[in-house]
């Protein structure tokens, strides 16, 4: 192939345009887009997720720009001029191009593999449910009680039920609330379970998402880093009102949390509810109600109470 003397150095030109565009894109992604990327930076897990998305975008941008640039450049520069009915130049194998392509894609894939693995391990599962025996545990002091500024990890059990969430705090006597409150700068262990069907606990701004299965204790970690509201949604189609299964949580100061939790515990003890709650357990079997013992009849899939609402004579089958 001969190149006319007037032909510009397309490779160099493409490279220079690509490097400039890539640099602009990377700077825009990192400094303009990243602060607004989901799920925000309200917890360590969320910050890692935001960082991950930004790094992936930065990794992908030069590739996308190269493909689009080459596409557009080809159309503009190498298009057939009016009246030019000649054949194009024959194309032969090019070892340099092939090697560059193979090495480039290998490096990118290996980089994503290593980066993804590190970002899963370092933030203790990245806010995802790790099952009942987590491999990557969040650092924190374990204690049967929780007090402000103690560095103690807060235990929160998340209980899904068609179609609402409740939260139990075993370090406060097993008190339960329909409102999620968390102290700031405190490592939190979420124990996610369900009383009936499969739900999924998605505390959006905290970057926590864990399936809620009956009879399973699904553990996820996060450390809230700033005050504010958290949207909690169900992320698993769980029935007709799945879409309405959400509520809001709040990250508050450690002293405010202590006051709130102690207050709820005291109120529930005072009106007798605390004694009437089931013993704190990490999982729930939908067919067993612990405080009602083992003598409960189970008819048509329903566990009856002392009044036997569904007696054998009424095996309703709609």
């Amino acid at each position: 192939m001969t190149t006319p003397q007037s032909e510009p150095r397309h490779g160099l030109r493409l490279f220079l345009i690509w490097i400039v565009l890539s640099l602009i894109a990377v700077l825009l992604i990192w400094f303009v887009w990243k602060p607004h990327l989901p799920p925000g930076d309200m917890s360590d897990a969320a910050r890692h997720q935001q960082f991950d998305i930004a790094v992936l975008a930065v990794s992908a941008a030069p590739v996308v720009i190269f493909v689009l640039l080459y596409f557009i450049y080809s159309i503009v520069v190498w298009r057939a001029r009016p009246g030019d009915d000649s054949d194009g130049e024959p194309i032969y194998g090019n070892t340099k191009v092939q090697l560059t392509w193979i090495i480039g894609t290998t490096v990118i894939v290996l980089w994503l593999f290593v980066f993804g693995t590190v970002e899963l391990v370092v933030p203790a599962g990245a806010g995802a449910g790790e099952g009942p025996s987590p491999i990557w545990k969040l650092a924190g002091t374990q204690s049967a009680t929780w007090t402000p500024n103690s560095g103690t990890m807060l235990q929160v059990q998340v209980i899904g039920q068609q179609w609402t969430w409740t939260y139990r705090y075993p370090q406060f006597g097993g008190m339960e609330s329909s409102e999620l409150l968390l102290p700031v700068n405190t490592p939190v262990t979420f124990h996610v379970t369900s009383l009936d069907v499969i739900h999924s606990f998605w505390a959006y701004q905290l970057g926590v998402k864990a399936d809620a299965n009956p009879e399973v204790d699904n553990v996820a970690y996060a450390t809230p880093k700033s005050l504010g509201s958290v949207t909690v949604r169900c992320n698993e189609l769980c029935g007709i009102w799945h879409g309405a299964m959400f509520n809001y949580g709040h990250v508050v100061s450690q002293t405010a949390f202590q006051a709130w939790a102690s207050g709820v515990q005291s109120a529930e003890r005072g009106d007798g509810l605390l004694a009437d709650l089931p013993p704190y357990a990490l999982t729930y079997d939908p067919t067993v109600i612990p405080q009602l013992g083992k003598n409960l009849p189970k008819i048509d899939g329903i566990t009856g109470g002392a009044g036997y609402y569904y007696p054998p004579s009424d095996p309703v089958t709609p």
Partner: protein, 241 residues
Amino acid sequence: MSVAARAVVLAAAFVVVAGIAVFVALYYIGGTSALPTVHYAASGGQANVVLQEDPQNDSASKPDWVTYYVQDPATGKWVHTTLFSVPAHTKVNVTILGYDGCTPLRNNFFSQVQGTIGNTVTLSQFDQHGREYVTEHTTPVINGWSDCNVGHTFAIPGLGLYVPVASPNAQLSANNLCSSSPCVTSGNPYAKETFSFMTPDHAGVFRWQCLVPCGGGFLDGNSGPMQTLGYMMGEMDVVSS
């Protein structure tokens, strides 16, 4: 086939497919909207909503499903629906007549009354002879596990309202429950429960539901009346006052 004929055939096929899609959508959506809505107006900043929950219902298709009824304030008649409307920024006084028997709550946390004014309900229970065997009292908890106490719940999660609905006691639940709906107080055991809450300042539709898995015949009680408008779940339409 000419281009014009092809275009006509294509247009006709499109109309047929679109028509089928519209029919299917209207069939299902129409099933929901066919439920009547009972409208409650405010007087002196208050509206009085009256509900009852029964062991069965008077429908032809699902007569053995547990169900709620809503009382029409204009006629006093019970309407087999779970759709009602109330004005915004209004104190709603709710009366629920619980005719259905007891079923344990899956989570006894919902024995606690939440979101009502004072976080309490006023409760009394009557046998089939009209005798008030549990006299009227106000309580923050109706323990669904200590005995045969709770039949269902009335919950509006969007408002943080969770109210356990009392039932007739164990013996009455087992032997003397109302068997013809809508139930009447005469000749049937029932629990009467009253409470109040404030509607929000803005209009909107708020779902309400039962938190007892009361779908008899369905796996673990989830489904059936639990997931069907007109039975154990409904919508409260808050309208601008």
